[in-house]
């Protein structure tokens, strides 16, 4: 059937969800690897479907759209989900054998939320999708309930999360109050005339969304959650919910608003600057690589906001580019972390001593991922950074761009520290690190991603600029 109809992919995902759920009911006692494979295959199919989809259709009288942005979102979510599931298949932890189905079902639920969110043009849909995305995340964080870190991480994530969704909802109520309707199409005019109630609402929502994308000072949950949760999942939440957050932000604050959007520039610019500085600085002293990546992730959110702060076609386009580059780089890094953890049972940077001598390819790929995150040429991350700086400078934000550029050096410092452990120091034990096949595939995929985007970014740039254009052109 034609995937260009709205809700087709969503319903597909829902069926998959049910299938996995039923599978769980049927094969109760057996180990749950099968569920994983089913999920994987299903997601692969859906991803292809999403790629073949055409934008333009609308459903539920305009509250659910299938436009360029939503398609971008869906593809990104599905792709990251696919990679994450691949990696999950390599998890040897007993819980995944015994309760794997739960995991995948909930995972798919959250993913479903994201897909819907990407298309939401109505406040109700938006909110529901948001919660559908978030609540499973809390569960998944605490999935390894045996580990004593997991519940704490889950608790923190949950409390902060639900508070922030309360804030979002509160803001949302004001938006509704100002607009008199839940259709987002009503937002731009109100913003244009500067309706205080509307601005109040949007301001509150920005606070809540700030939590989702983990911008300073709403980032506090990030390091703890990352440290607590299982790595494939962390790899996923390090990108998917944040991307969702950005999609929501684009919908609420940019789409159709046009000129009036500059209103938000100072706010976003400040958030960007603070996130970049704080994130990079706090990453320096980290001993645990997951925390390190968490903080560097915060910094990356800062760079994304930097691009957003440009509030221009190029700016938004480059934010999308950055998201994809960040997806490959960051997930890849986490997958390597997972591989090492599988052998060393440790996430300390210490555990990476002499990795280059033990398993060169693994070390090399981690190095490349880190370099991509650090923004080194011929890696996706380089263009990403460059593009956001360009967007910022285009809007005359020289200082902000300069700040960002200087702090990339700090970022490279802590990335190089890891590189030093892997390449310069000698290994404690010379044995190579075993990498399960699915994980290897996932890593390979990410590697391919950063290199392809890095060597020939042109098609991507054009695609994303086209997406951005739609946001500014509509009414």
């Amino acid at each position: 059937m034609n995937t260009s109809y709205p809700l087709v992919i969503e319903s597909g995902l829902f069926t998959l969800l049910l299938a996995v759920f039923l599978l769980g009911l049927v094969r109760r006692r057996a180990d749950d690897l099968l569920a994983g494979w089913v999920t994987l295959v299903g997601l692969a199919g859906l991803t292809l479907a999403a790629w073949s989809a055409e934008p333009g259709r609308v459903a539920l009288e305009g509250s659910f759209v299938l436009d360029e942005l939503s398609l971008f979102g869906k593809r990104l979510f599905l792709l990251s989900g696919l990679l994450s599931v691949l990696a999950t298949l390599a998890m040897t932890h007993p819980s995944f054998r015994r309760r794997g189905t739960e995991y995948y079902v909930v995972f798919l639920a959250s993913l479903l939320g994201m897909l819907v969110l990407a298309s939401a043009r109505d406040l109700i849909v938006l909110f529901v999708a948001f919660e559908l995305m978030s609540i499973p995340l809390y569960f998944l964080t605490g999935f390894l309930k045996g580990e004593d870190a997991a519940p704490e991480g889950a608790m923190k994530f949950f409390l902060i999360g639900s508070i922030s969704s309360a804030v979002i909802l509160y803001g949302l109520s004001f938006v509704y109050g100002a607009a008199g309707t839940t259709n987002m199409a009503a937002i731009p005019p109100a913003v244009a005339v500067g309706d205080p109630l509307m601005l109040l609402g949007l301001g509150l929502m920005l606070g809540g969304l700030g939590f989702k994308i983990a911008a300073v000072p709403f980032h506090m949950w990030v390091p703890d959650t990352y440290e607590a949760a299982n790595t494939p999942f962390v790899a996923w939440i390090s990108i998917a919910p944040k991307a969702a957050g950005f999609v929501a932000i684009l919908r609420l604050y940019v789409e159709g608003v046009g000129e009036a959007a500059v209103l938000w520039v100072p706010l976003i610019a400040t958030l960007a600057a603070v996130s970049i500085v704080a994130g990079n600085l706090m990453a320096i002293p980290q001993k645990n690589i997951k925390r390190l990546l968490a903080y560097s992730g915060v910094a990356h959110i800062g760079y994304l906001l930097l691009g957003l702060a440009a509030m221009s076609v190029s700016g938004v386009g480059m934010v999308l580019f950055y998201l994809v580059a960040y997806l490959f780089g960051n997930m890849g890094a986490f997958f390597v972390v997972q591989a090492v953890n599988g052998a060393e049972q440790s996430d300390d940077v210490e555990a990476y001593r002499g990795l280059a001598r033990r398993s060169p390819m693994l070390a090399l790929s981690l190095l490349l991922f880190l370099l991509s995150l650090g923004g080194i040429p011929f890696m996706a991350g380089f263009w990403a950074k460059l593009f956001v700086f360009w967007a910022a400078i285009e809007q005359g934000m020289y200082l902000l761009a300069f700040l960002g550029a200087v702090l990339t050096v700090v970022a490279l410092y802590y990335y190089l520290v890891v590189a030093r452990r892997m390449y310069i120091e000698d290994p404690a034990v010379p044995t190579p690190i075993p990498v399960p096949a699915p994980l290897m595939v996932a890593i390979g995929g990410c590697l391919a991603g950063i290199i392809v985007m890095g060597v020939y970014p042109e098609p991507w740039v054009q695609a994303f600029l086209r997406v951005a254009l739609t946001l500014f052109s509509t009414n």
């Binding site: 922030s164 500067g194 109040l200 301001g203 920005l206 709403f218 506090m220 320096i284």
Partner: protein, 616 residues
């Protein structure tokens, strides 16, 4: 203009350099010792022959240039040759001496290991080439290039026996001192180029003759150039390197530090005389410094016991003579003295070399009575001494008299007196050497060179050059005693007798003191008192330089080094350290307590609200 002489002039310059190339590139040949020497000597001989032909055949000045440094409009600097009467005569001197010295070295270095000899002759050929290049240089750039190269050769040859700490030190010292002068020369050249737009002597001359050279600022330029000359030609206070340079093998001292390189400074001024004529004040300076140097060096020479150092100081003093003449405005006189001095000073050095070679010591007080042992050497050495003392019929006579005449005619009474005194001292210290070394009682020499056997005259390879030079200086002397050359100045009638008288006075005094012992040397020393002690210490010029180097330069360097590590780099490290600590500090806010997280979140929201209040 294409002249048959062109290839000859080129041959003069290229013969040595090809010898050098051969020795430098063909390692086995170099290591083989004597064959290498032969190659080099052949080069020198070729150069000499062609030099003679050039000298005989030259009627009009001859210039050829090829572009060396191109720039937008053709050539910035070029290389080539300018053969006129000055340069051709100079070529003759240089080729002659270097040929003889190279032959002489065969004997002198007979017990040097083969590779050493190869190295030695490679340096020799390189030097010959550079010196000749300097002589024929048609412009300042080529002159400077060769100028530096001869400096390099002198450095290399002084340090030939680099295992001797003193030699290594002397070599570096020579290089540094002359280099200091060269800084001046380089600045001078650059300024002059900016001033006139050319490096070329001929063009410069035209400009000067045409009065197209602005006078203001010219004094600075000529002064800078003079600095260079002073460095090379060991004028006070840059003379300190020359005595130490005696650490090199004696033939080297003869060639480089007596006959040729040290006179390069004088030659430069002769070349540039027309320019200096425009700046009388600088000329005055040149004259006074020259005269002062002459006198001071003469005094120092009297206080030395090392035969080579005596000769070295006498060289300094003679260079002073030449400079004074140039300062007086009569470059020709200085140049003339340069030529004669080149011959007989080389002779003296080689003679001294023969003595040292035979005796195995430089100390004249430990020689004596050598006349009987090595008569030939005695004779030639005496010839040299008489020429240096400037007695009639000998090489130095007329040239010295001309210098005096020039100075007198230049109306510089002060320098004139200085020079007279110097002349007296010259005769004195030279004969002191003669009497102490060759006459008087034989002192017993246990530390004698070559074990028990008594000293004897040198082998042919050494005596041949000696005789050649002796004859040459005699010839010059006799010839010029009777044919007075045309000069721009006329010597007062009383000058010749006076000069002769003064010189003989010196001889007599020496004879009375060291031969007849009628005046005790001690008494003489007492008489001169503190002056002598000061002279023995070289007037503390060395100490002054050392003080500047250690006390100022090195101290400054240490301070800068410290600043670099602790301030410039220190600040950098502090900043980085702060960045790292900053990270640590920020971690503090990540308390791990969920309420604090909520607080942060709330604070963020409040901040956003606050900002909105402003925005609306």
């Amino acid at each position: 203009m294409d002249s048959p002489l062109d290839p000859l002039v080129l041959a003069v310059v290229l013969a040595p350099v090809s010898a050098f190339m051969l020795l430098a590139l063909v390692a086995p040949l170099r290591r083989s010792g004597r064959p290498a020497a032969v190659v080099s000597i052949l080069g020198a001989a070729t150069a000499f022959v062609s030099a003679v032909l050039v000298w005989r055949g030259l009627d009009a000045p001859l210039q050829r240039v090829w572009t060396w440094l191109p720039d937008a409009n053709g050539a910035l600097a070029s290389v080539g040759f300018l053969a006129d009467e000055q340069s051709s005569v100079m070529l003759l001197l240089v080729t002659l001496v270097s040929l003889l010295v190279q032959i002489y070295s065969l004997g002198y270095l007979s017990d040097e290991p083969a590779p050493g000899i190869g190295r030695y002759y490679a340096y020799q050929s390189l030097f010959a080439f550079s010196m000749l290049g300097l002589v024929v240089a048609p412009n300042l750039v080529q002159l400077f290039v060769c100028w530096e190269l001869v400096g390099l050769c002198s450095y290399l040859l002084i340090g030939f026996w680099y295992r001797k700490p003193s030699a290594a030190r002397a070599a570096v010292k020579a290089f540094w001192t002359t280099k200091a002068g060269d800084v001046g020369l380089l600045i001078g050249i650059v300024l002059l180029w900016r001033h006139t737009g050319t490096f070329d002597f001929a063009e410069l001359r035209q400009l000067v003759d045409g009065g197209l050279v602005g006078i203001d600022g010219l004094a600075l330029i000529t002064f800078c150039i003079y600095l260079g000359a002073a460095g090379k030609s060991a004028q006070f206070p840059l003379h300190v390197w020359l005595p130490d340079a005696m650490e090199g093998p004696t033939p080297v001292s003869a060639l480089i530090h007596a006959a040729t390189m040290v006179t390069a400074g004088v030659y430069l001024l002769v070349r540039m005389a027309f320019l200096f004529a425009l700046t009388p004040d600088v000329l005055l300076l040149v004259a006074w410094v020259g005269a002062g140097t002459a006198l001071m060096a003469a005094m120092l020479a009297c206080a030395q016991n090392d035969i080579k150092r005596v000769l070295a100081y006498s060289t300094v003093s003679q260079l002073g003579y030449m400079m004074t003449a140039i300062g007086a405005g009569f470059a020709s006189a200085g140049f003339f003295h340069l030529l004669t001095h080149g011959v007989f000073k080389a002779l003296l050095f080689l003679g001294a070399g023969a003595v040292i070679h035979a005796v195995g010591t430089n100390d004249i007080t430990r020689m004596g009575g050598l006349a009987r042992r090595m008569p030939q050497t005695m004779v030639v050495f005496l010839v040299g001494t008489l020429s240096l003392a400037g007695l009639p019929l000998f090489g130095g006579f007329l040239s010295k008299e001309e210098v005096l005449a020039a100075v007198w005619d230049g109306g510089m009474t002060g320098p004139f007196v200085f020079l007279l005194v110097a002349a007296f001292l010259t005769a004195f210290y030279m004969f002191r050497v003669v009497f102490l070394a060759f006459f008087g009682p034989e002192t017993s020499r246990e530390s004698e060179h070559g074990g028990g056997h008594a000293p004897h005259d040198a082998p042919w390879s050494m005596s041949l050059p000696l005789w050649a030079l002796a004859l040459a200086s005699m010839a010059i002397g006799v010839y010029f005693t009777f044919h007075h050359p045309e000069t721009a100045f006329e010597a007062p009638g009383w000058l010749a007798p006076l000069a002769t008288g003064v010189a003989s006075g010196g001889v007599v005094l020496a004879w009375l003191t060291f031969q007849r012992k009628m005046i005790s040397a001690e008494a003489l020393a007492q008489a001169t008192g503190p002056l002598r002690t000061a002279a023995a210490r070289g007037f503390w010029v060395d100490e002054a330089f050392v003080a500047v180097y250690r006390g100022m330069l090195m101290a400054l360097a240490r301070i800068v080094g410290w600043i670099d590590r602790y301030i410039v780099d220190g600040v950098l490290n502090v900043v980085s350290a702060w960045t790292v600590s900053g990270g640590d500090g920020l971690r503090g806010i990540q308390t791990g307590k969920v309420q604090d997280y909520v607080l942060a979140l709330a604070a963020g929201v409040v901040a956003v609200m606050w900002w909105l209040r402003g925005a609306m």
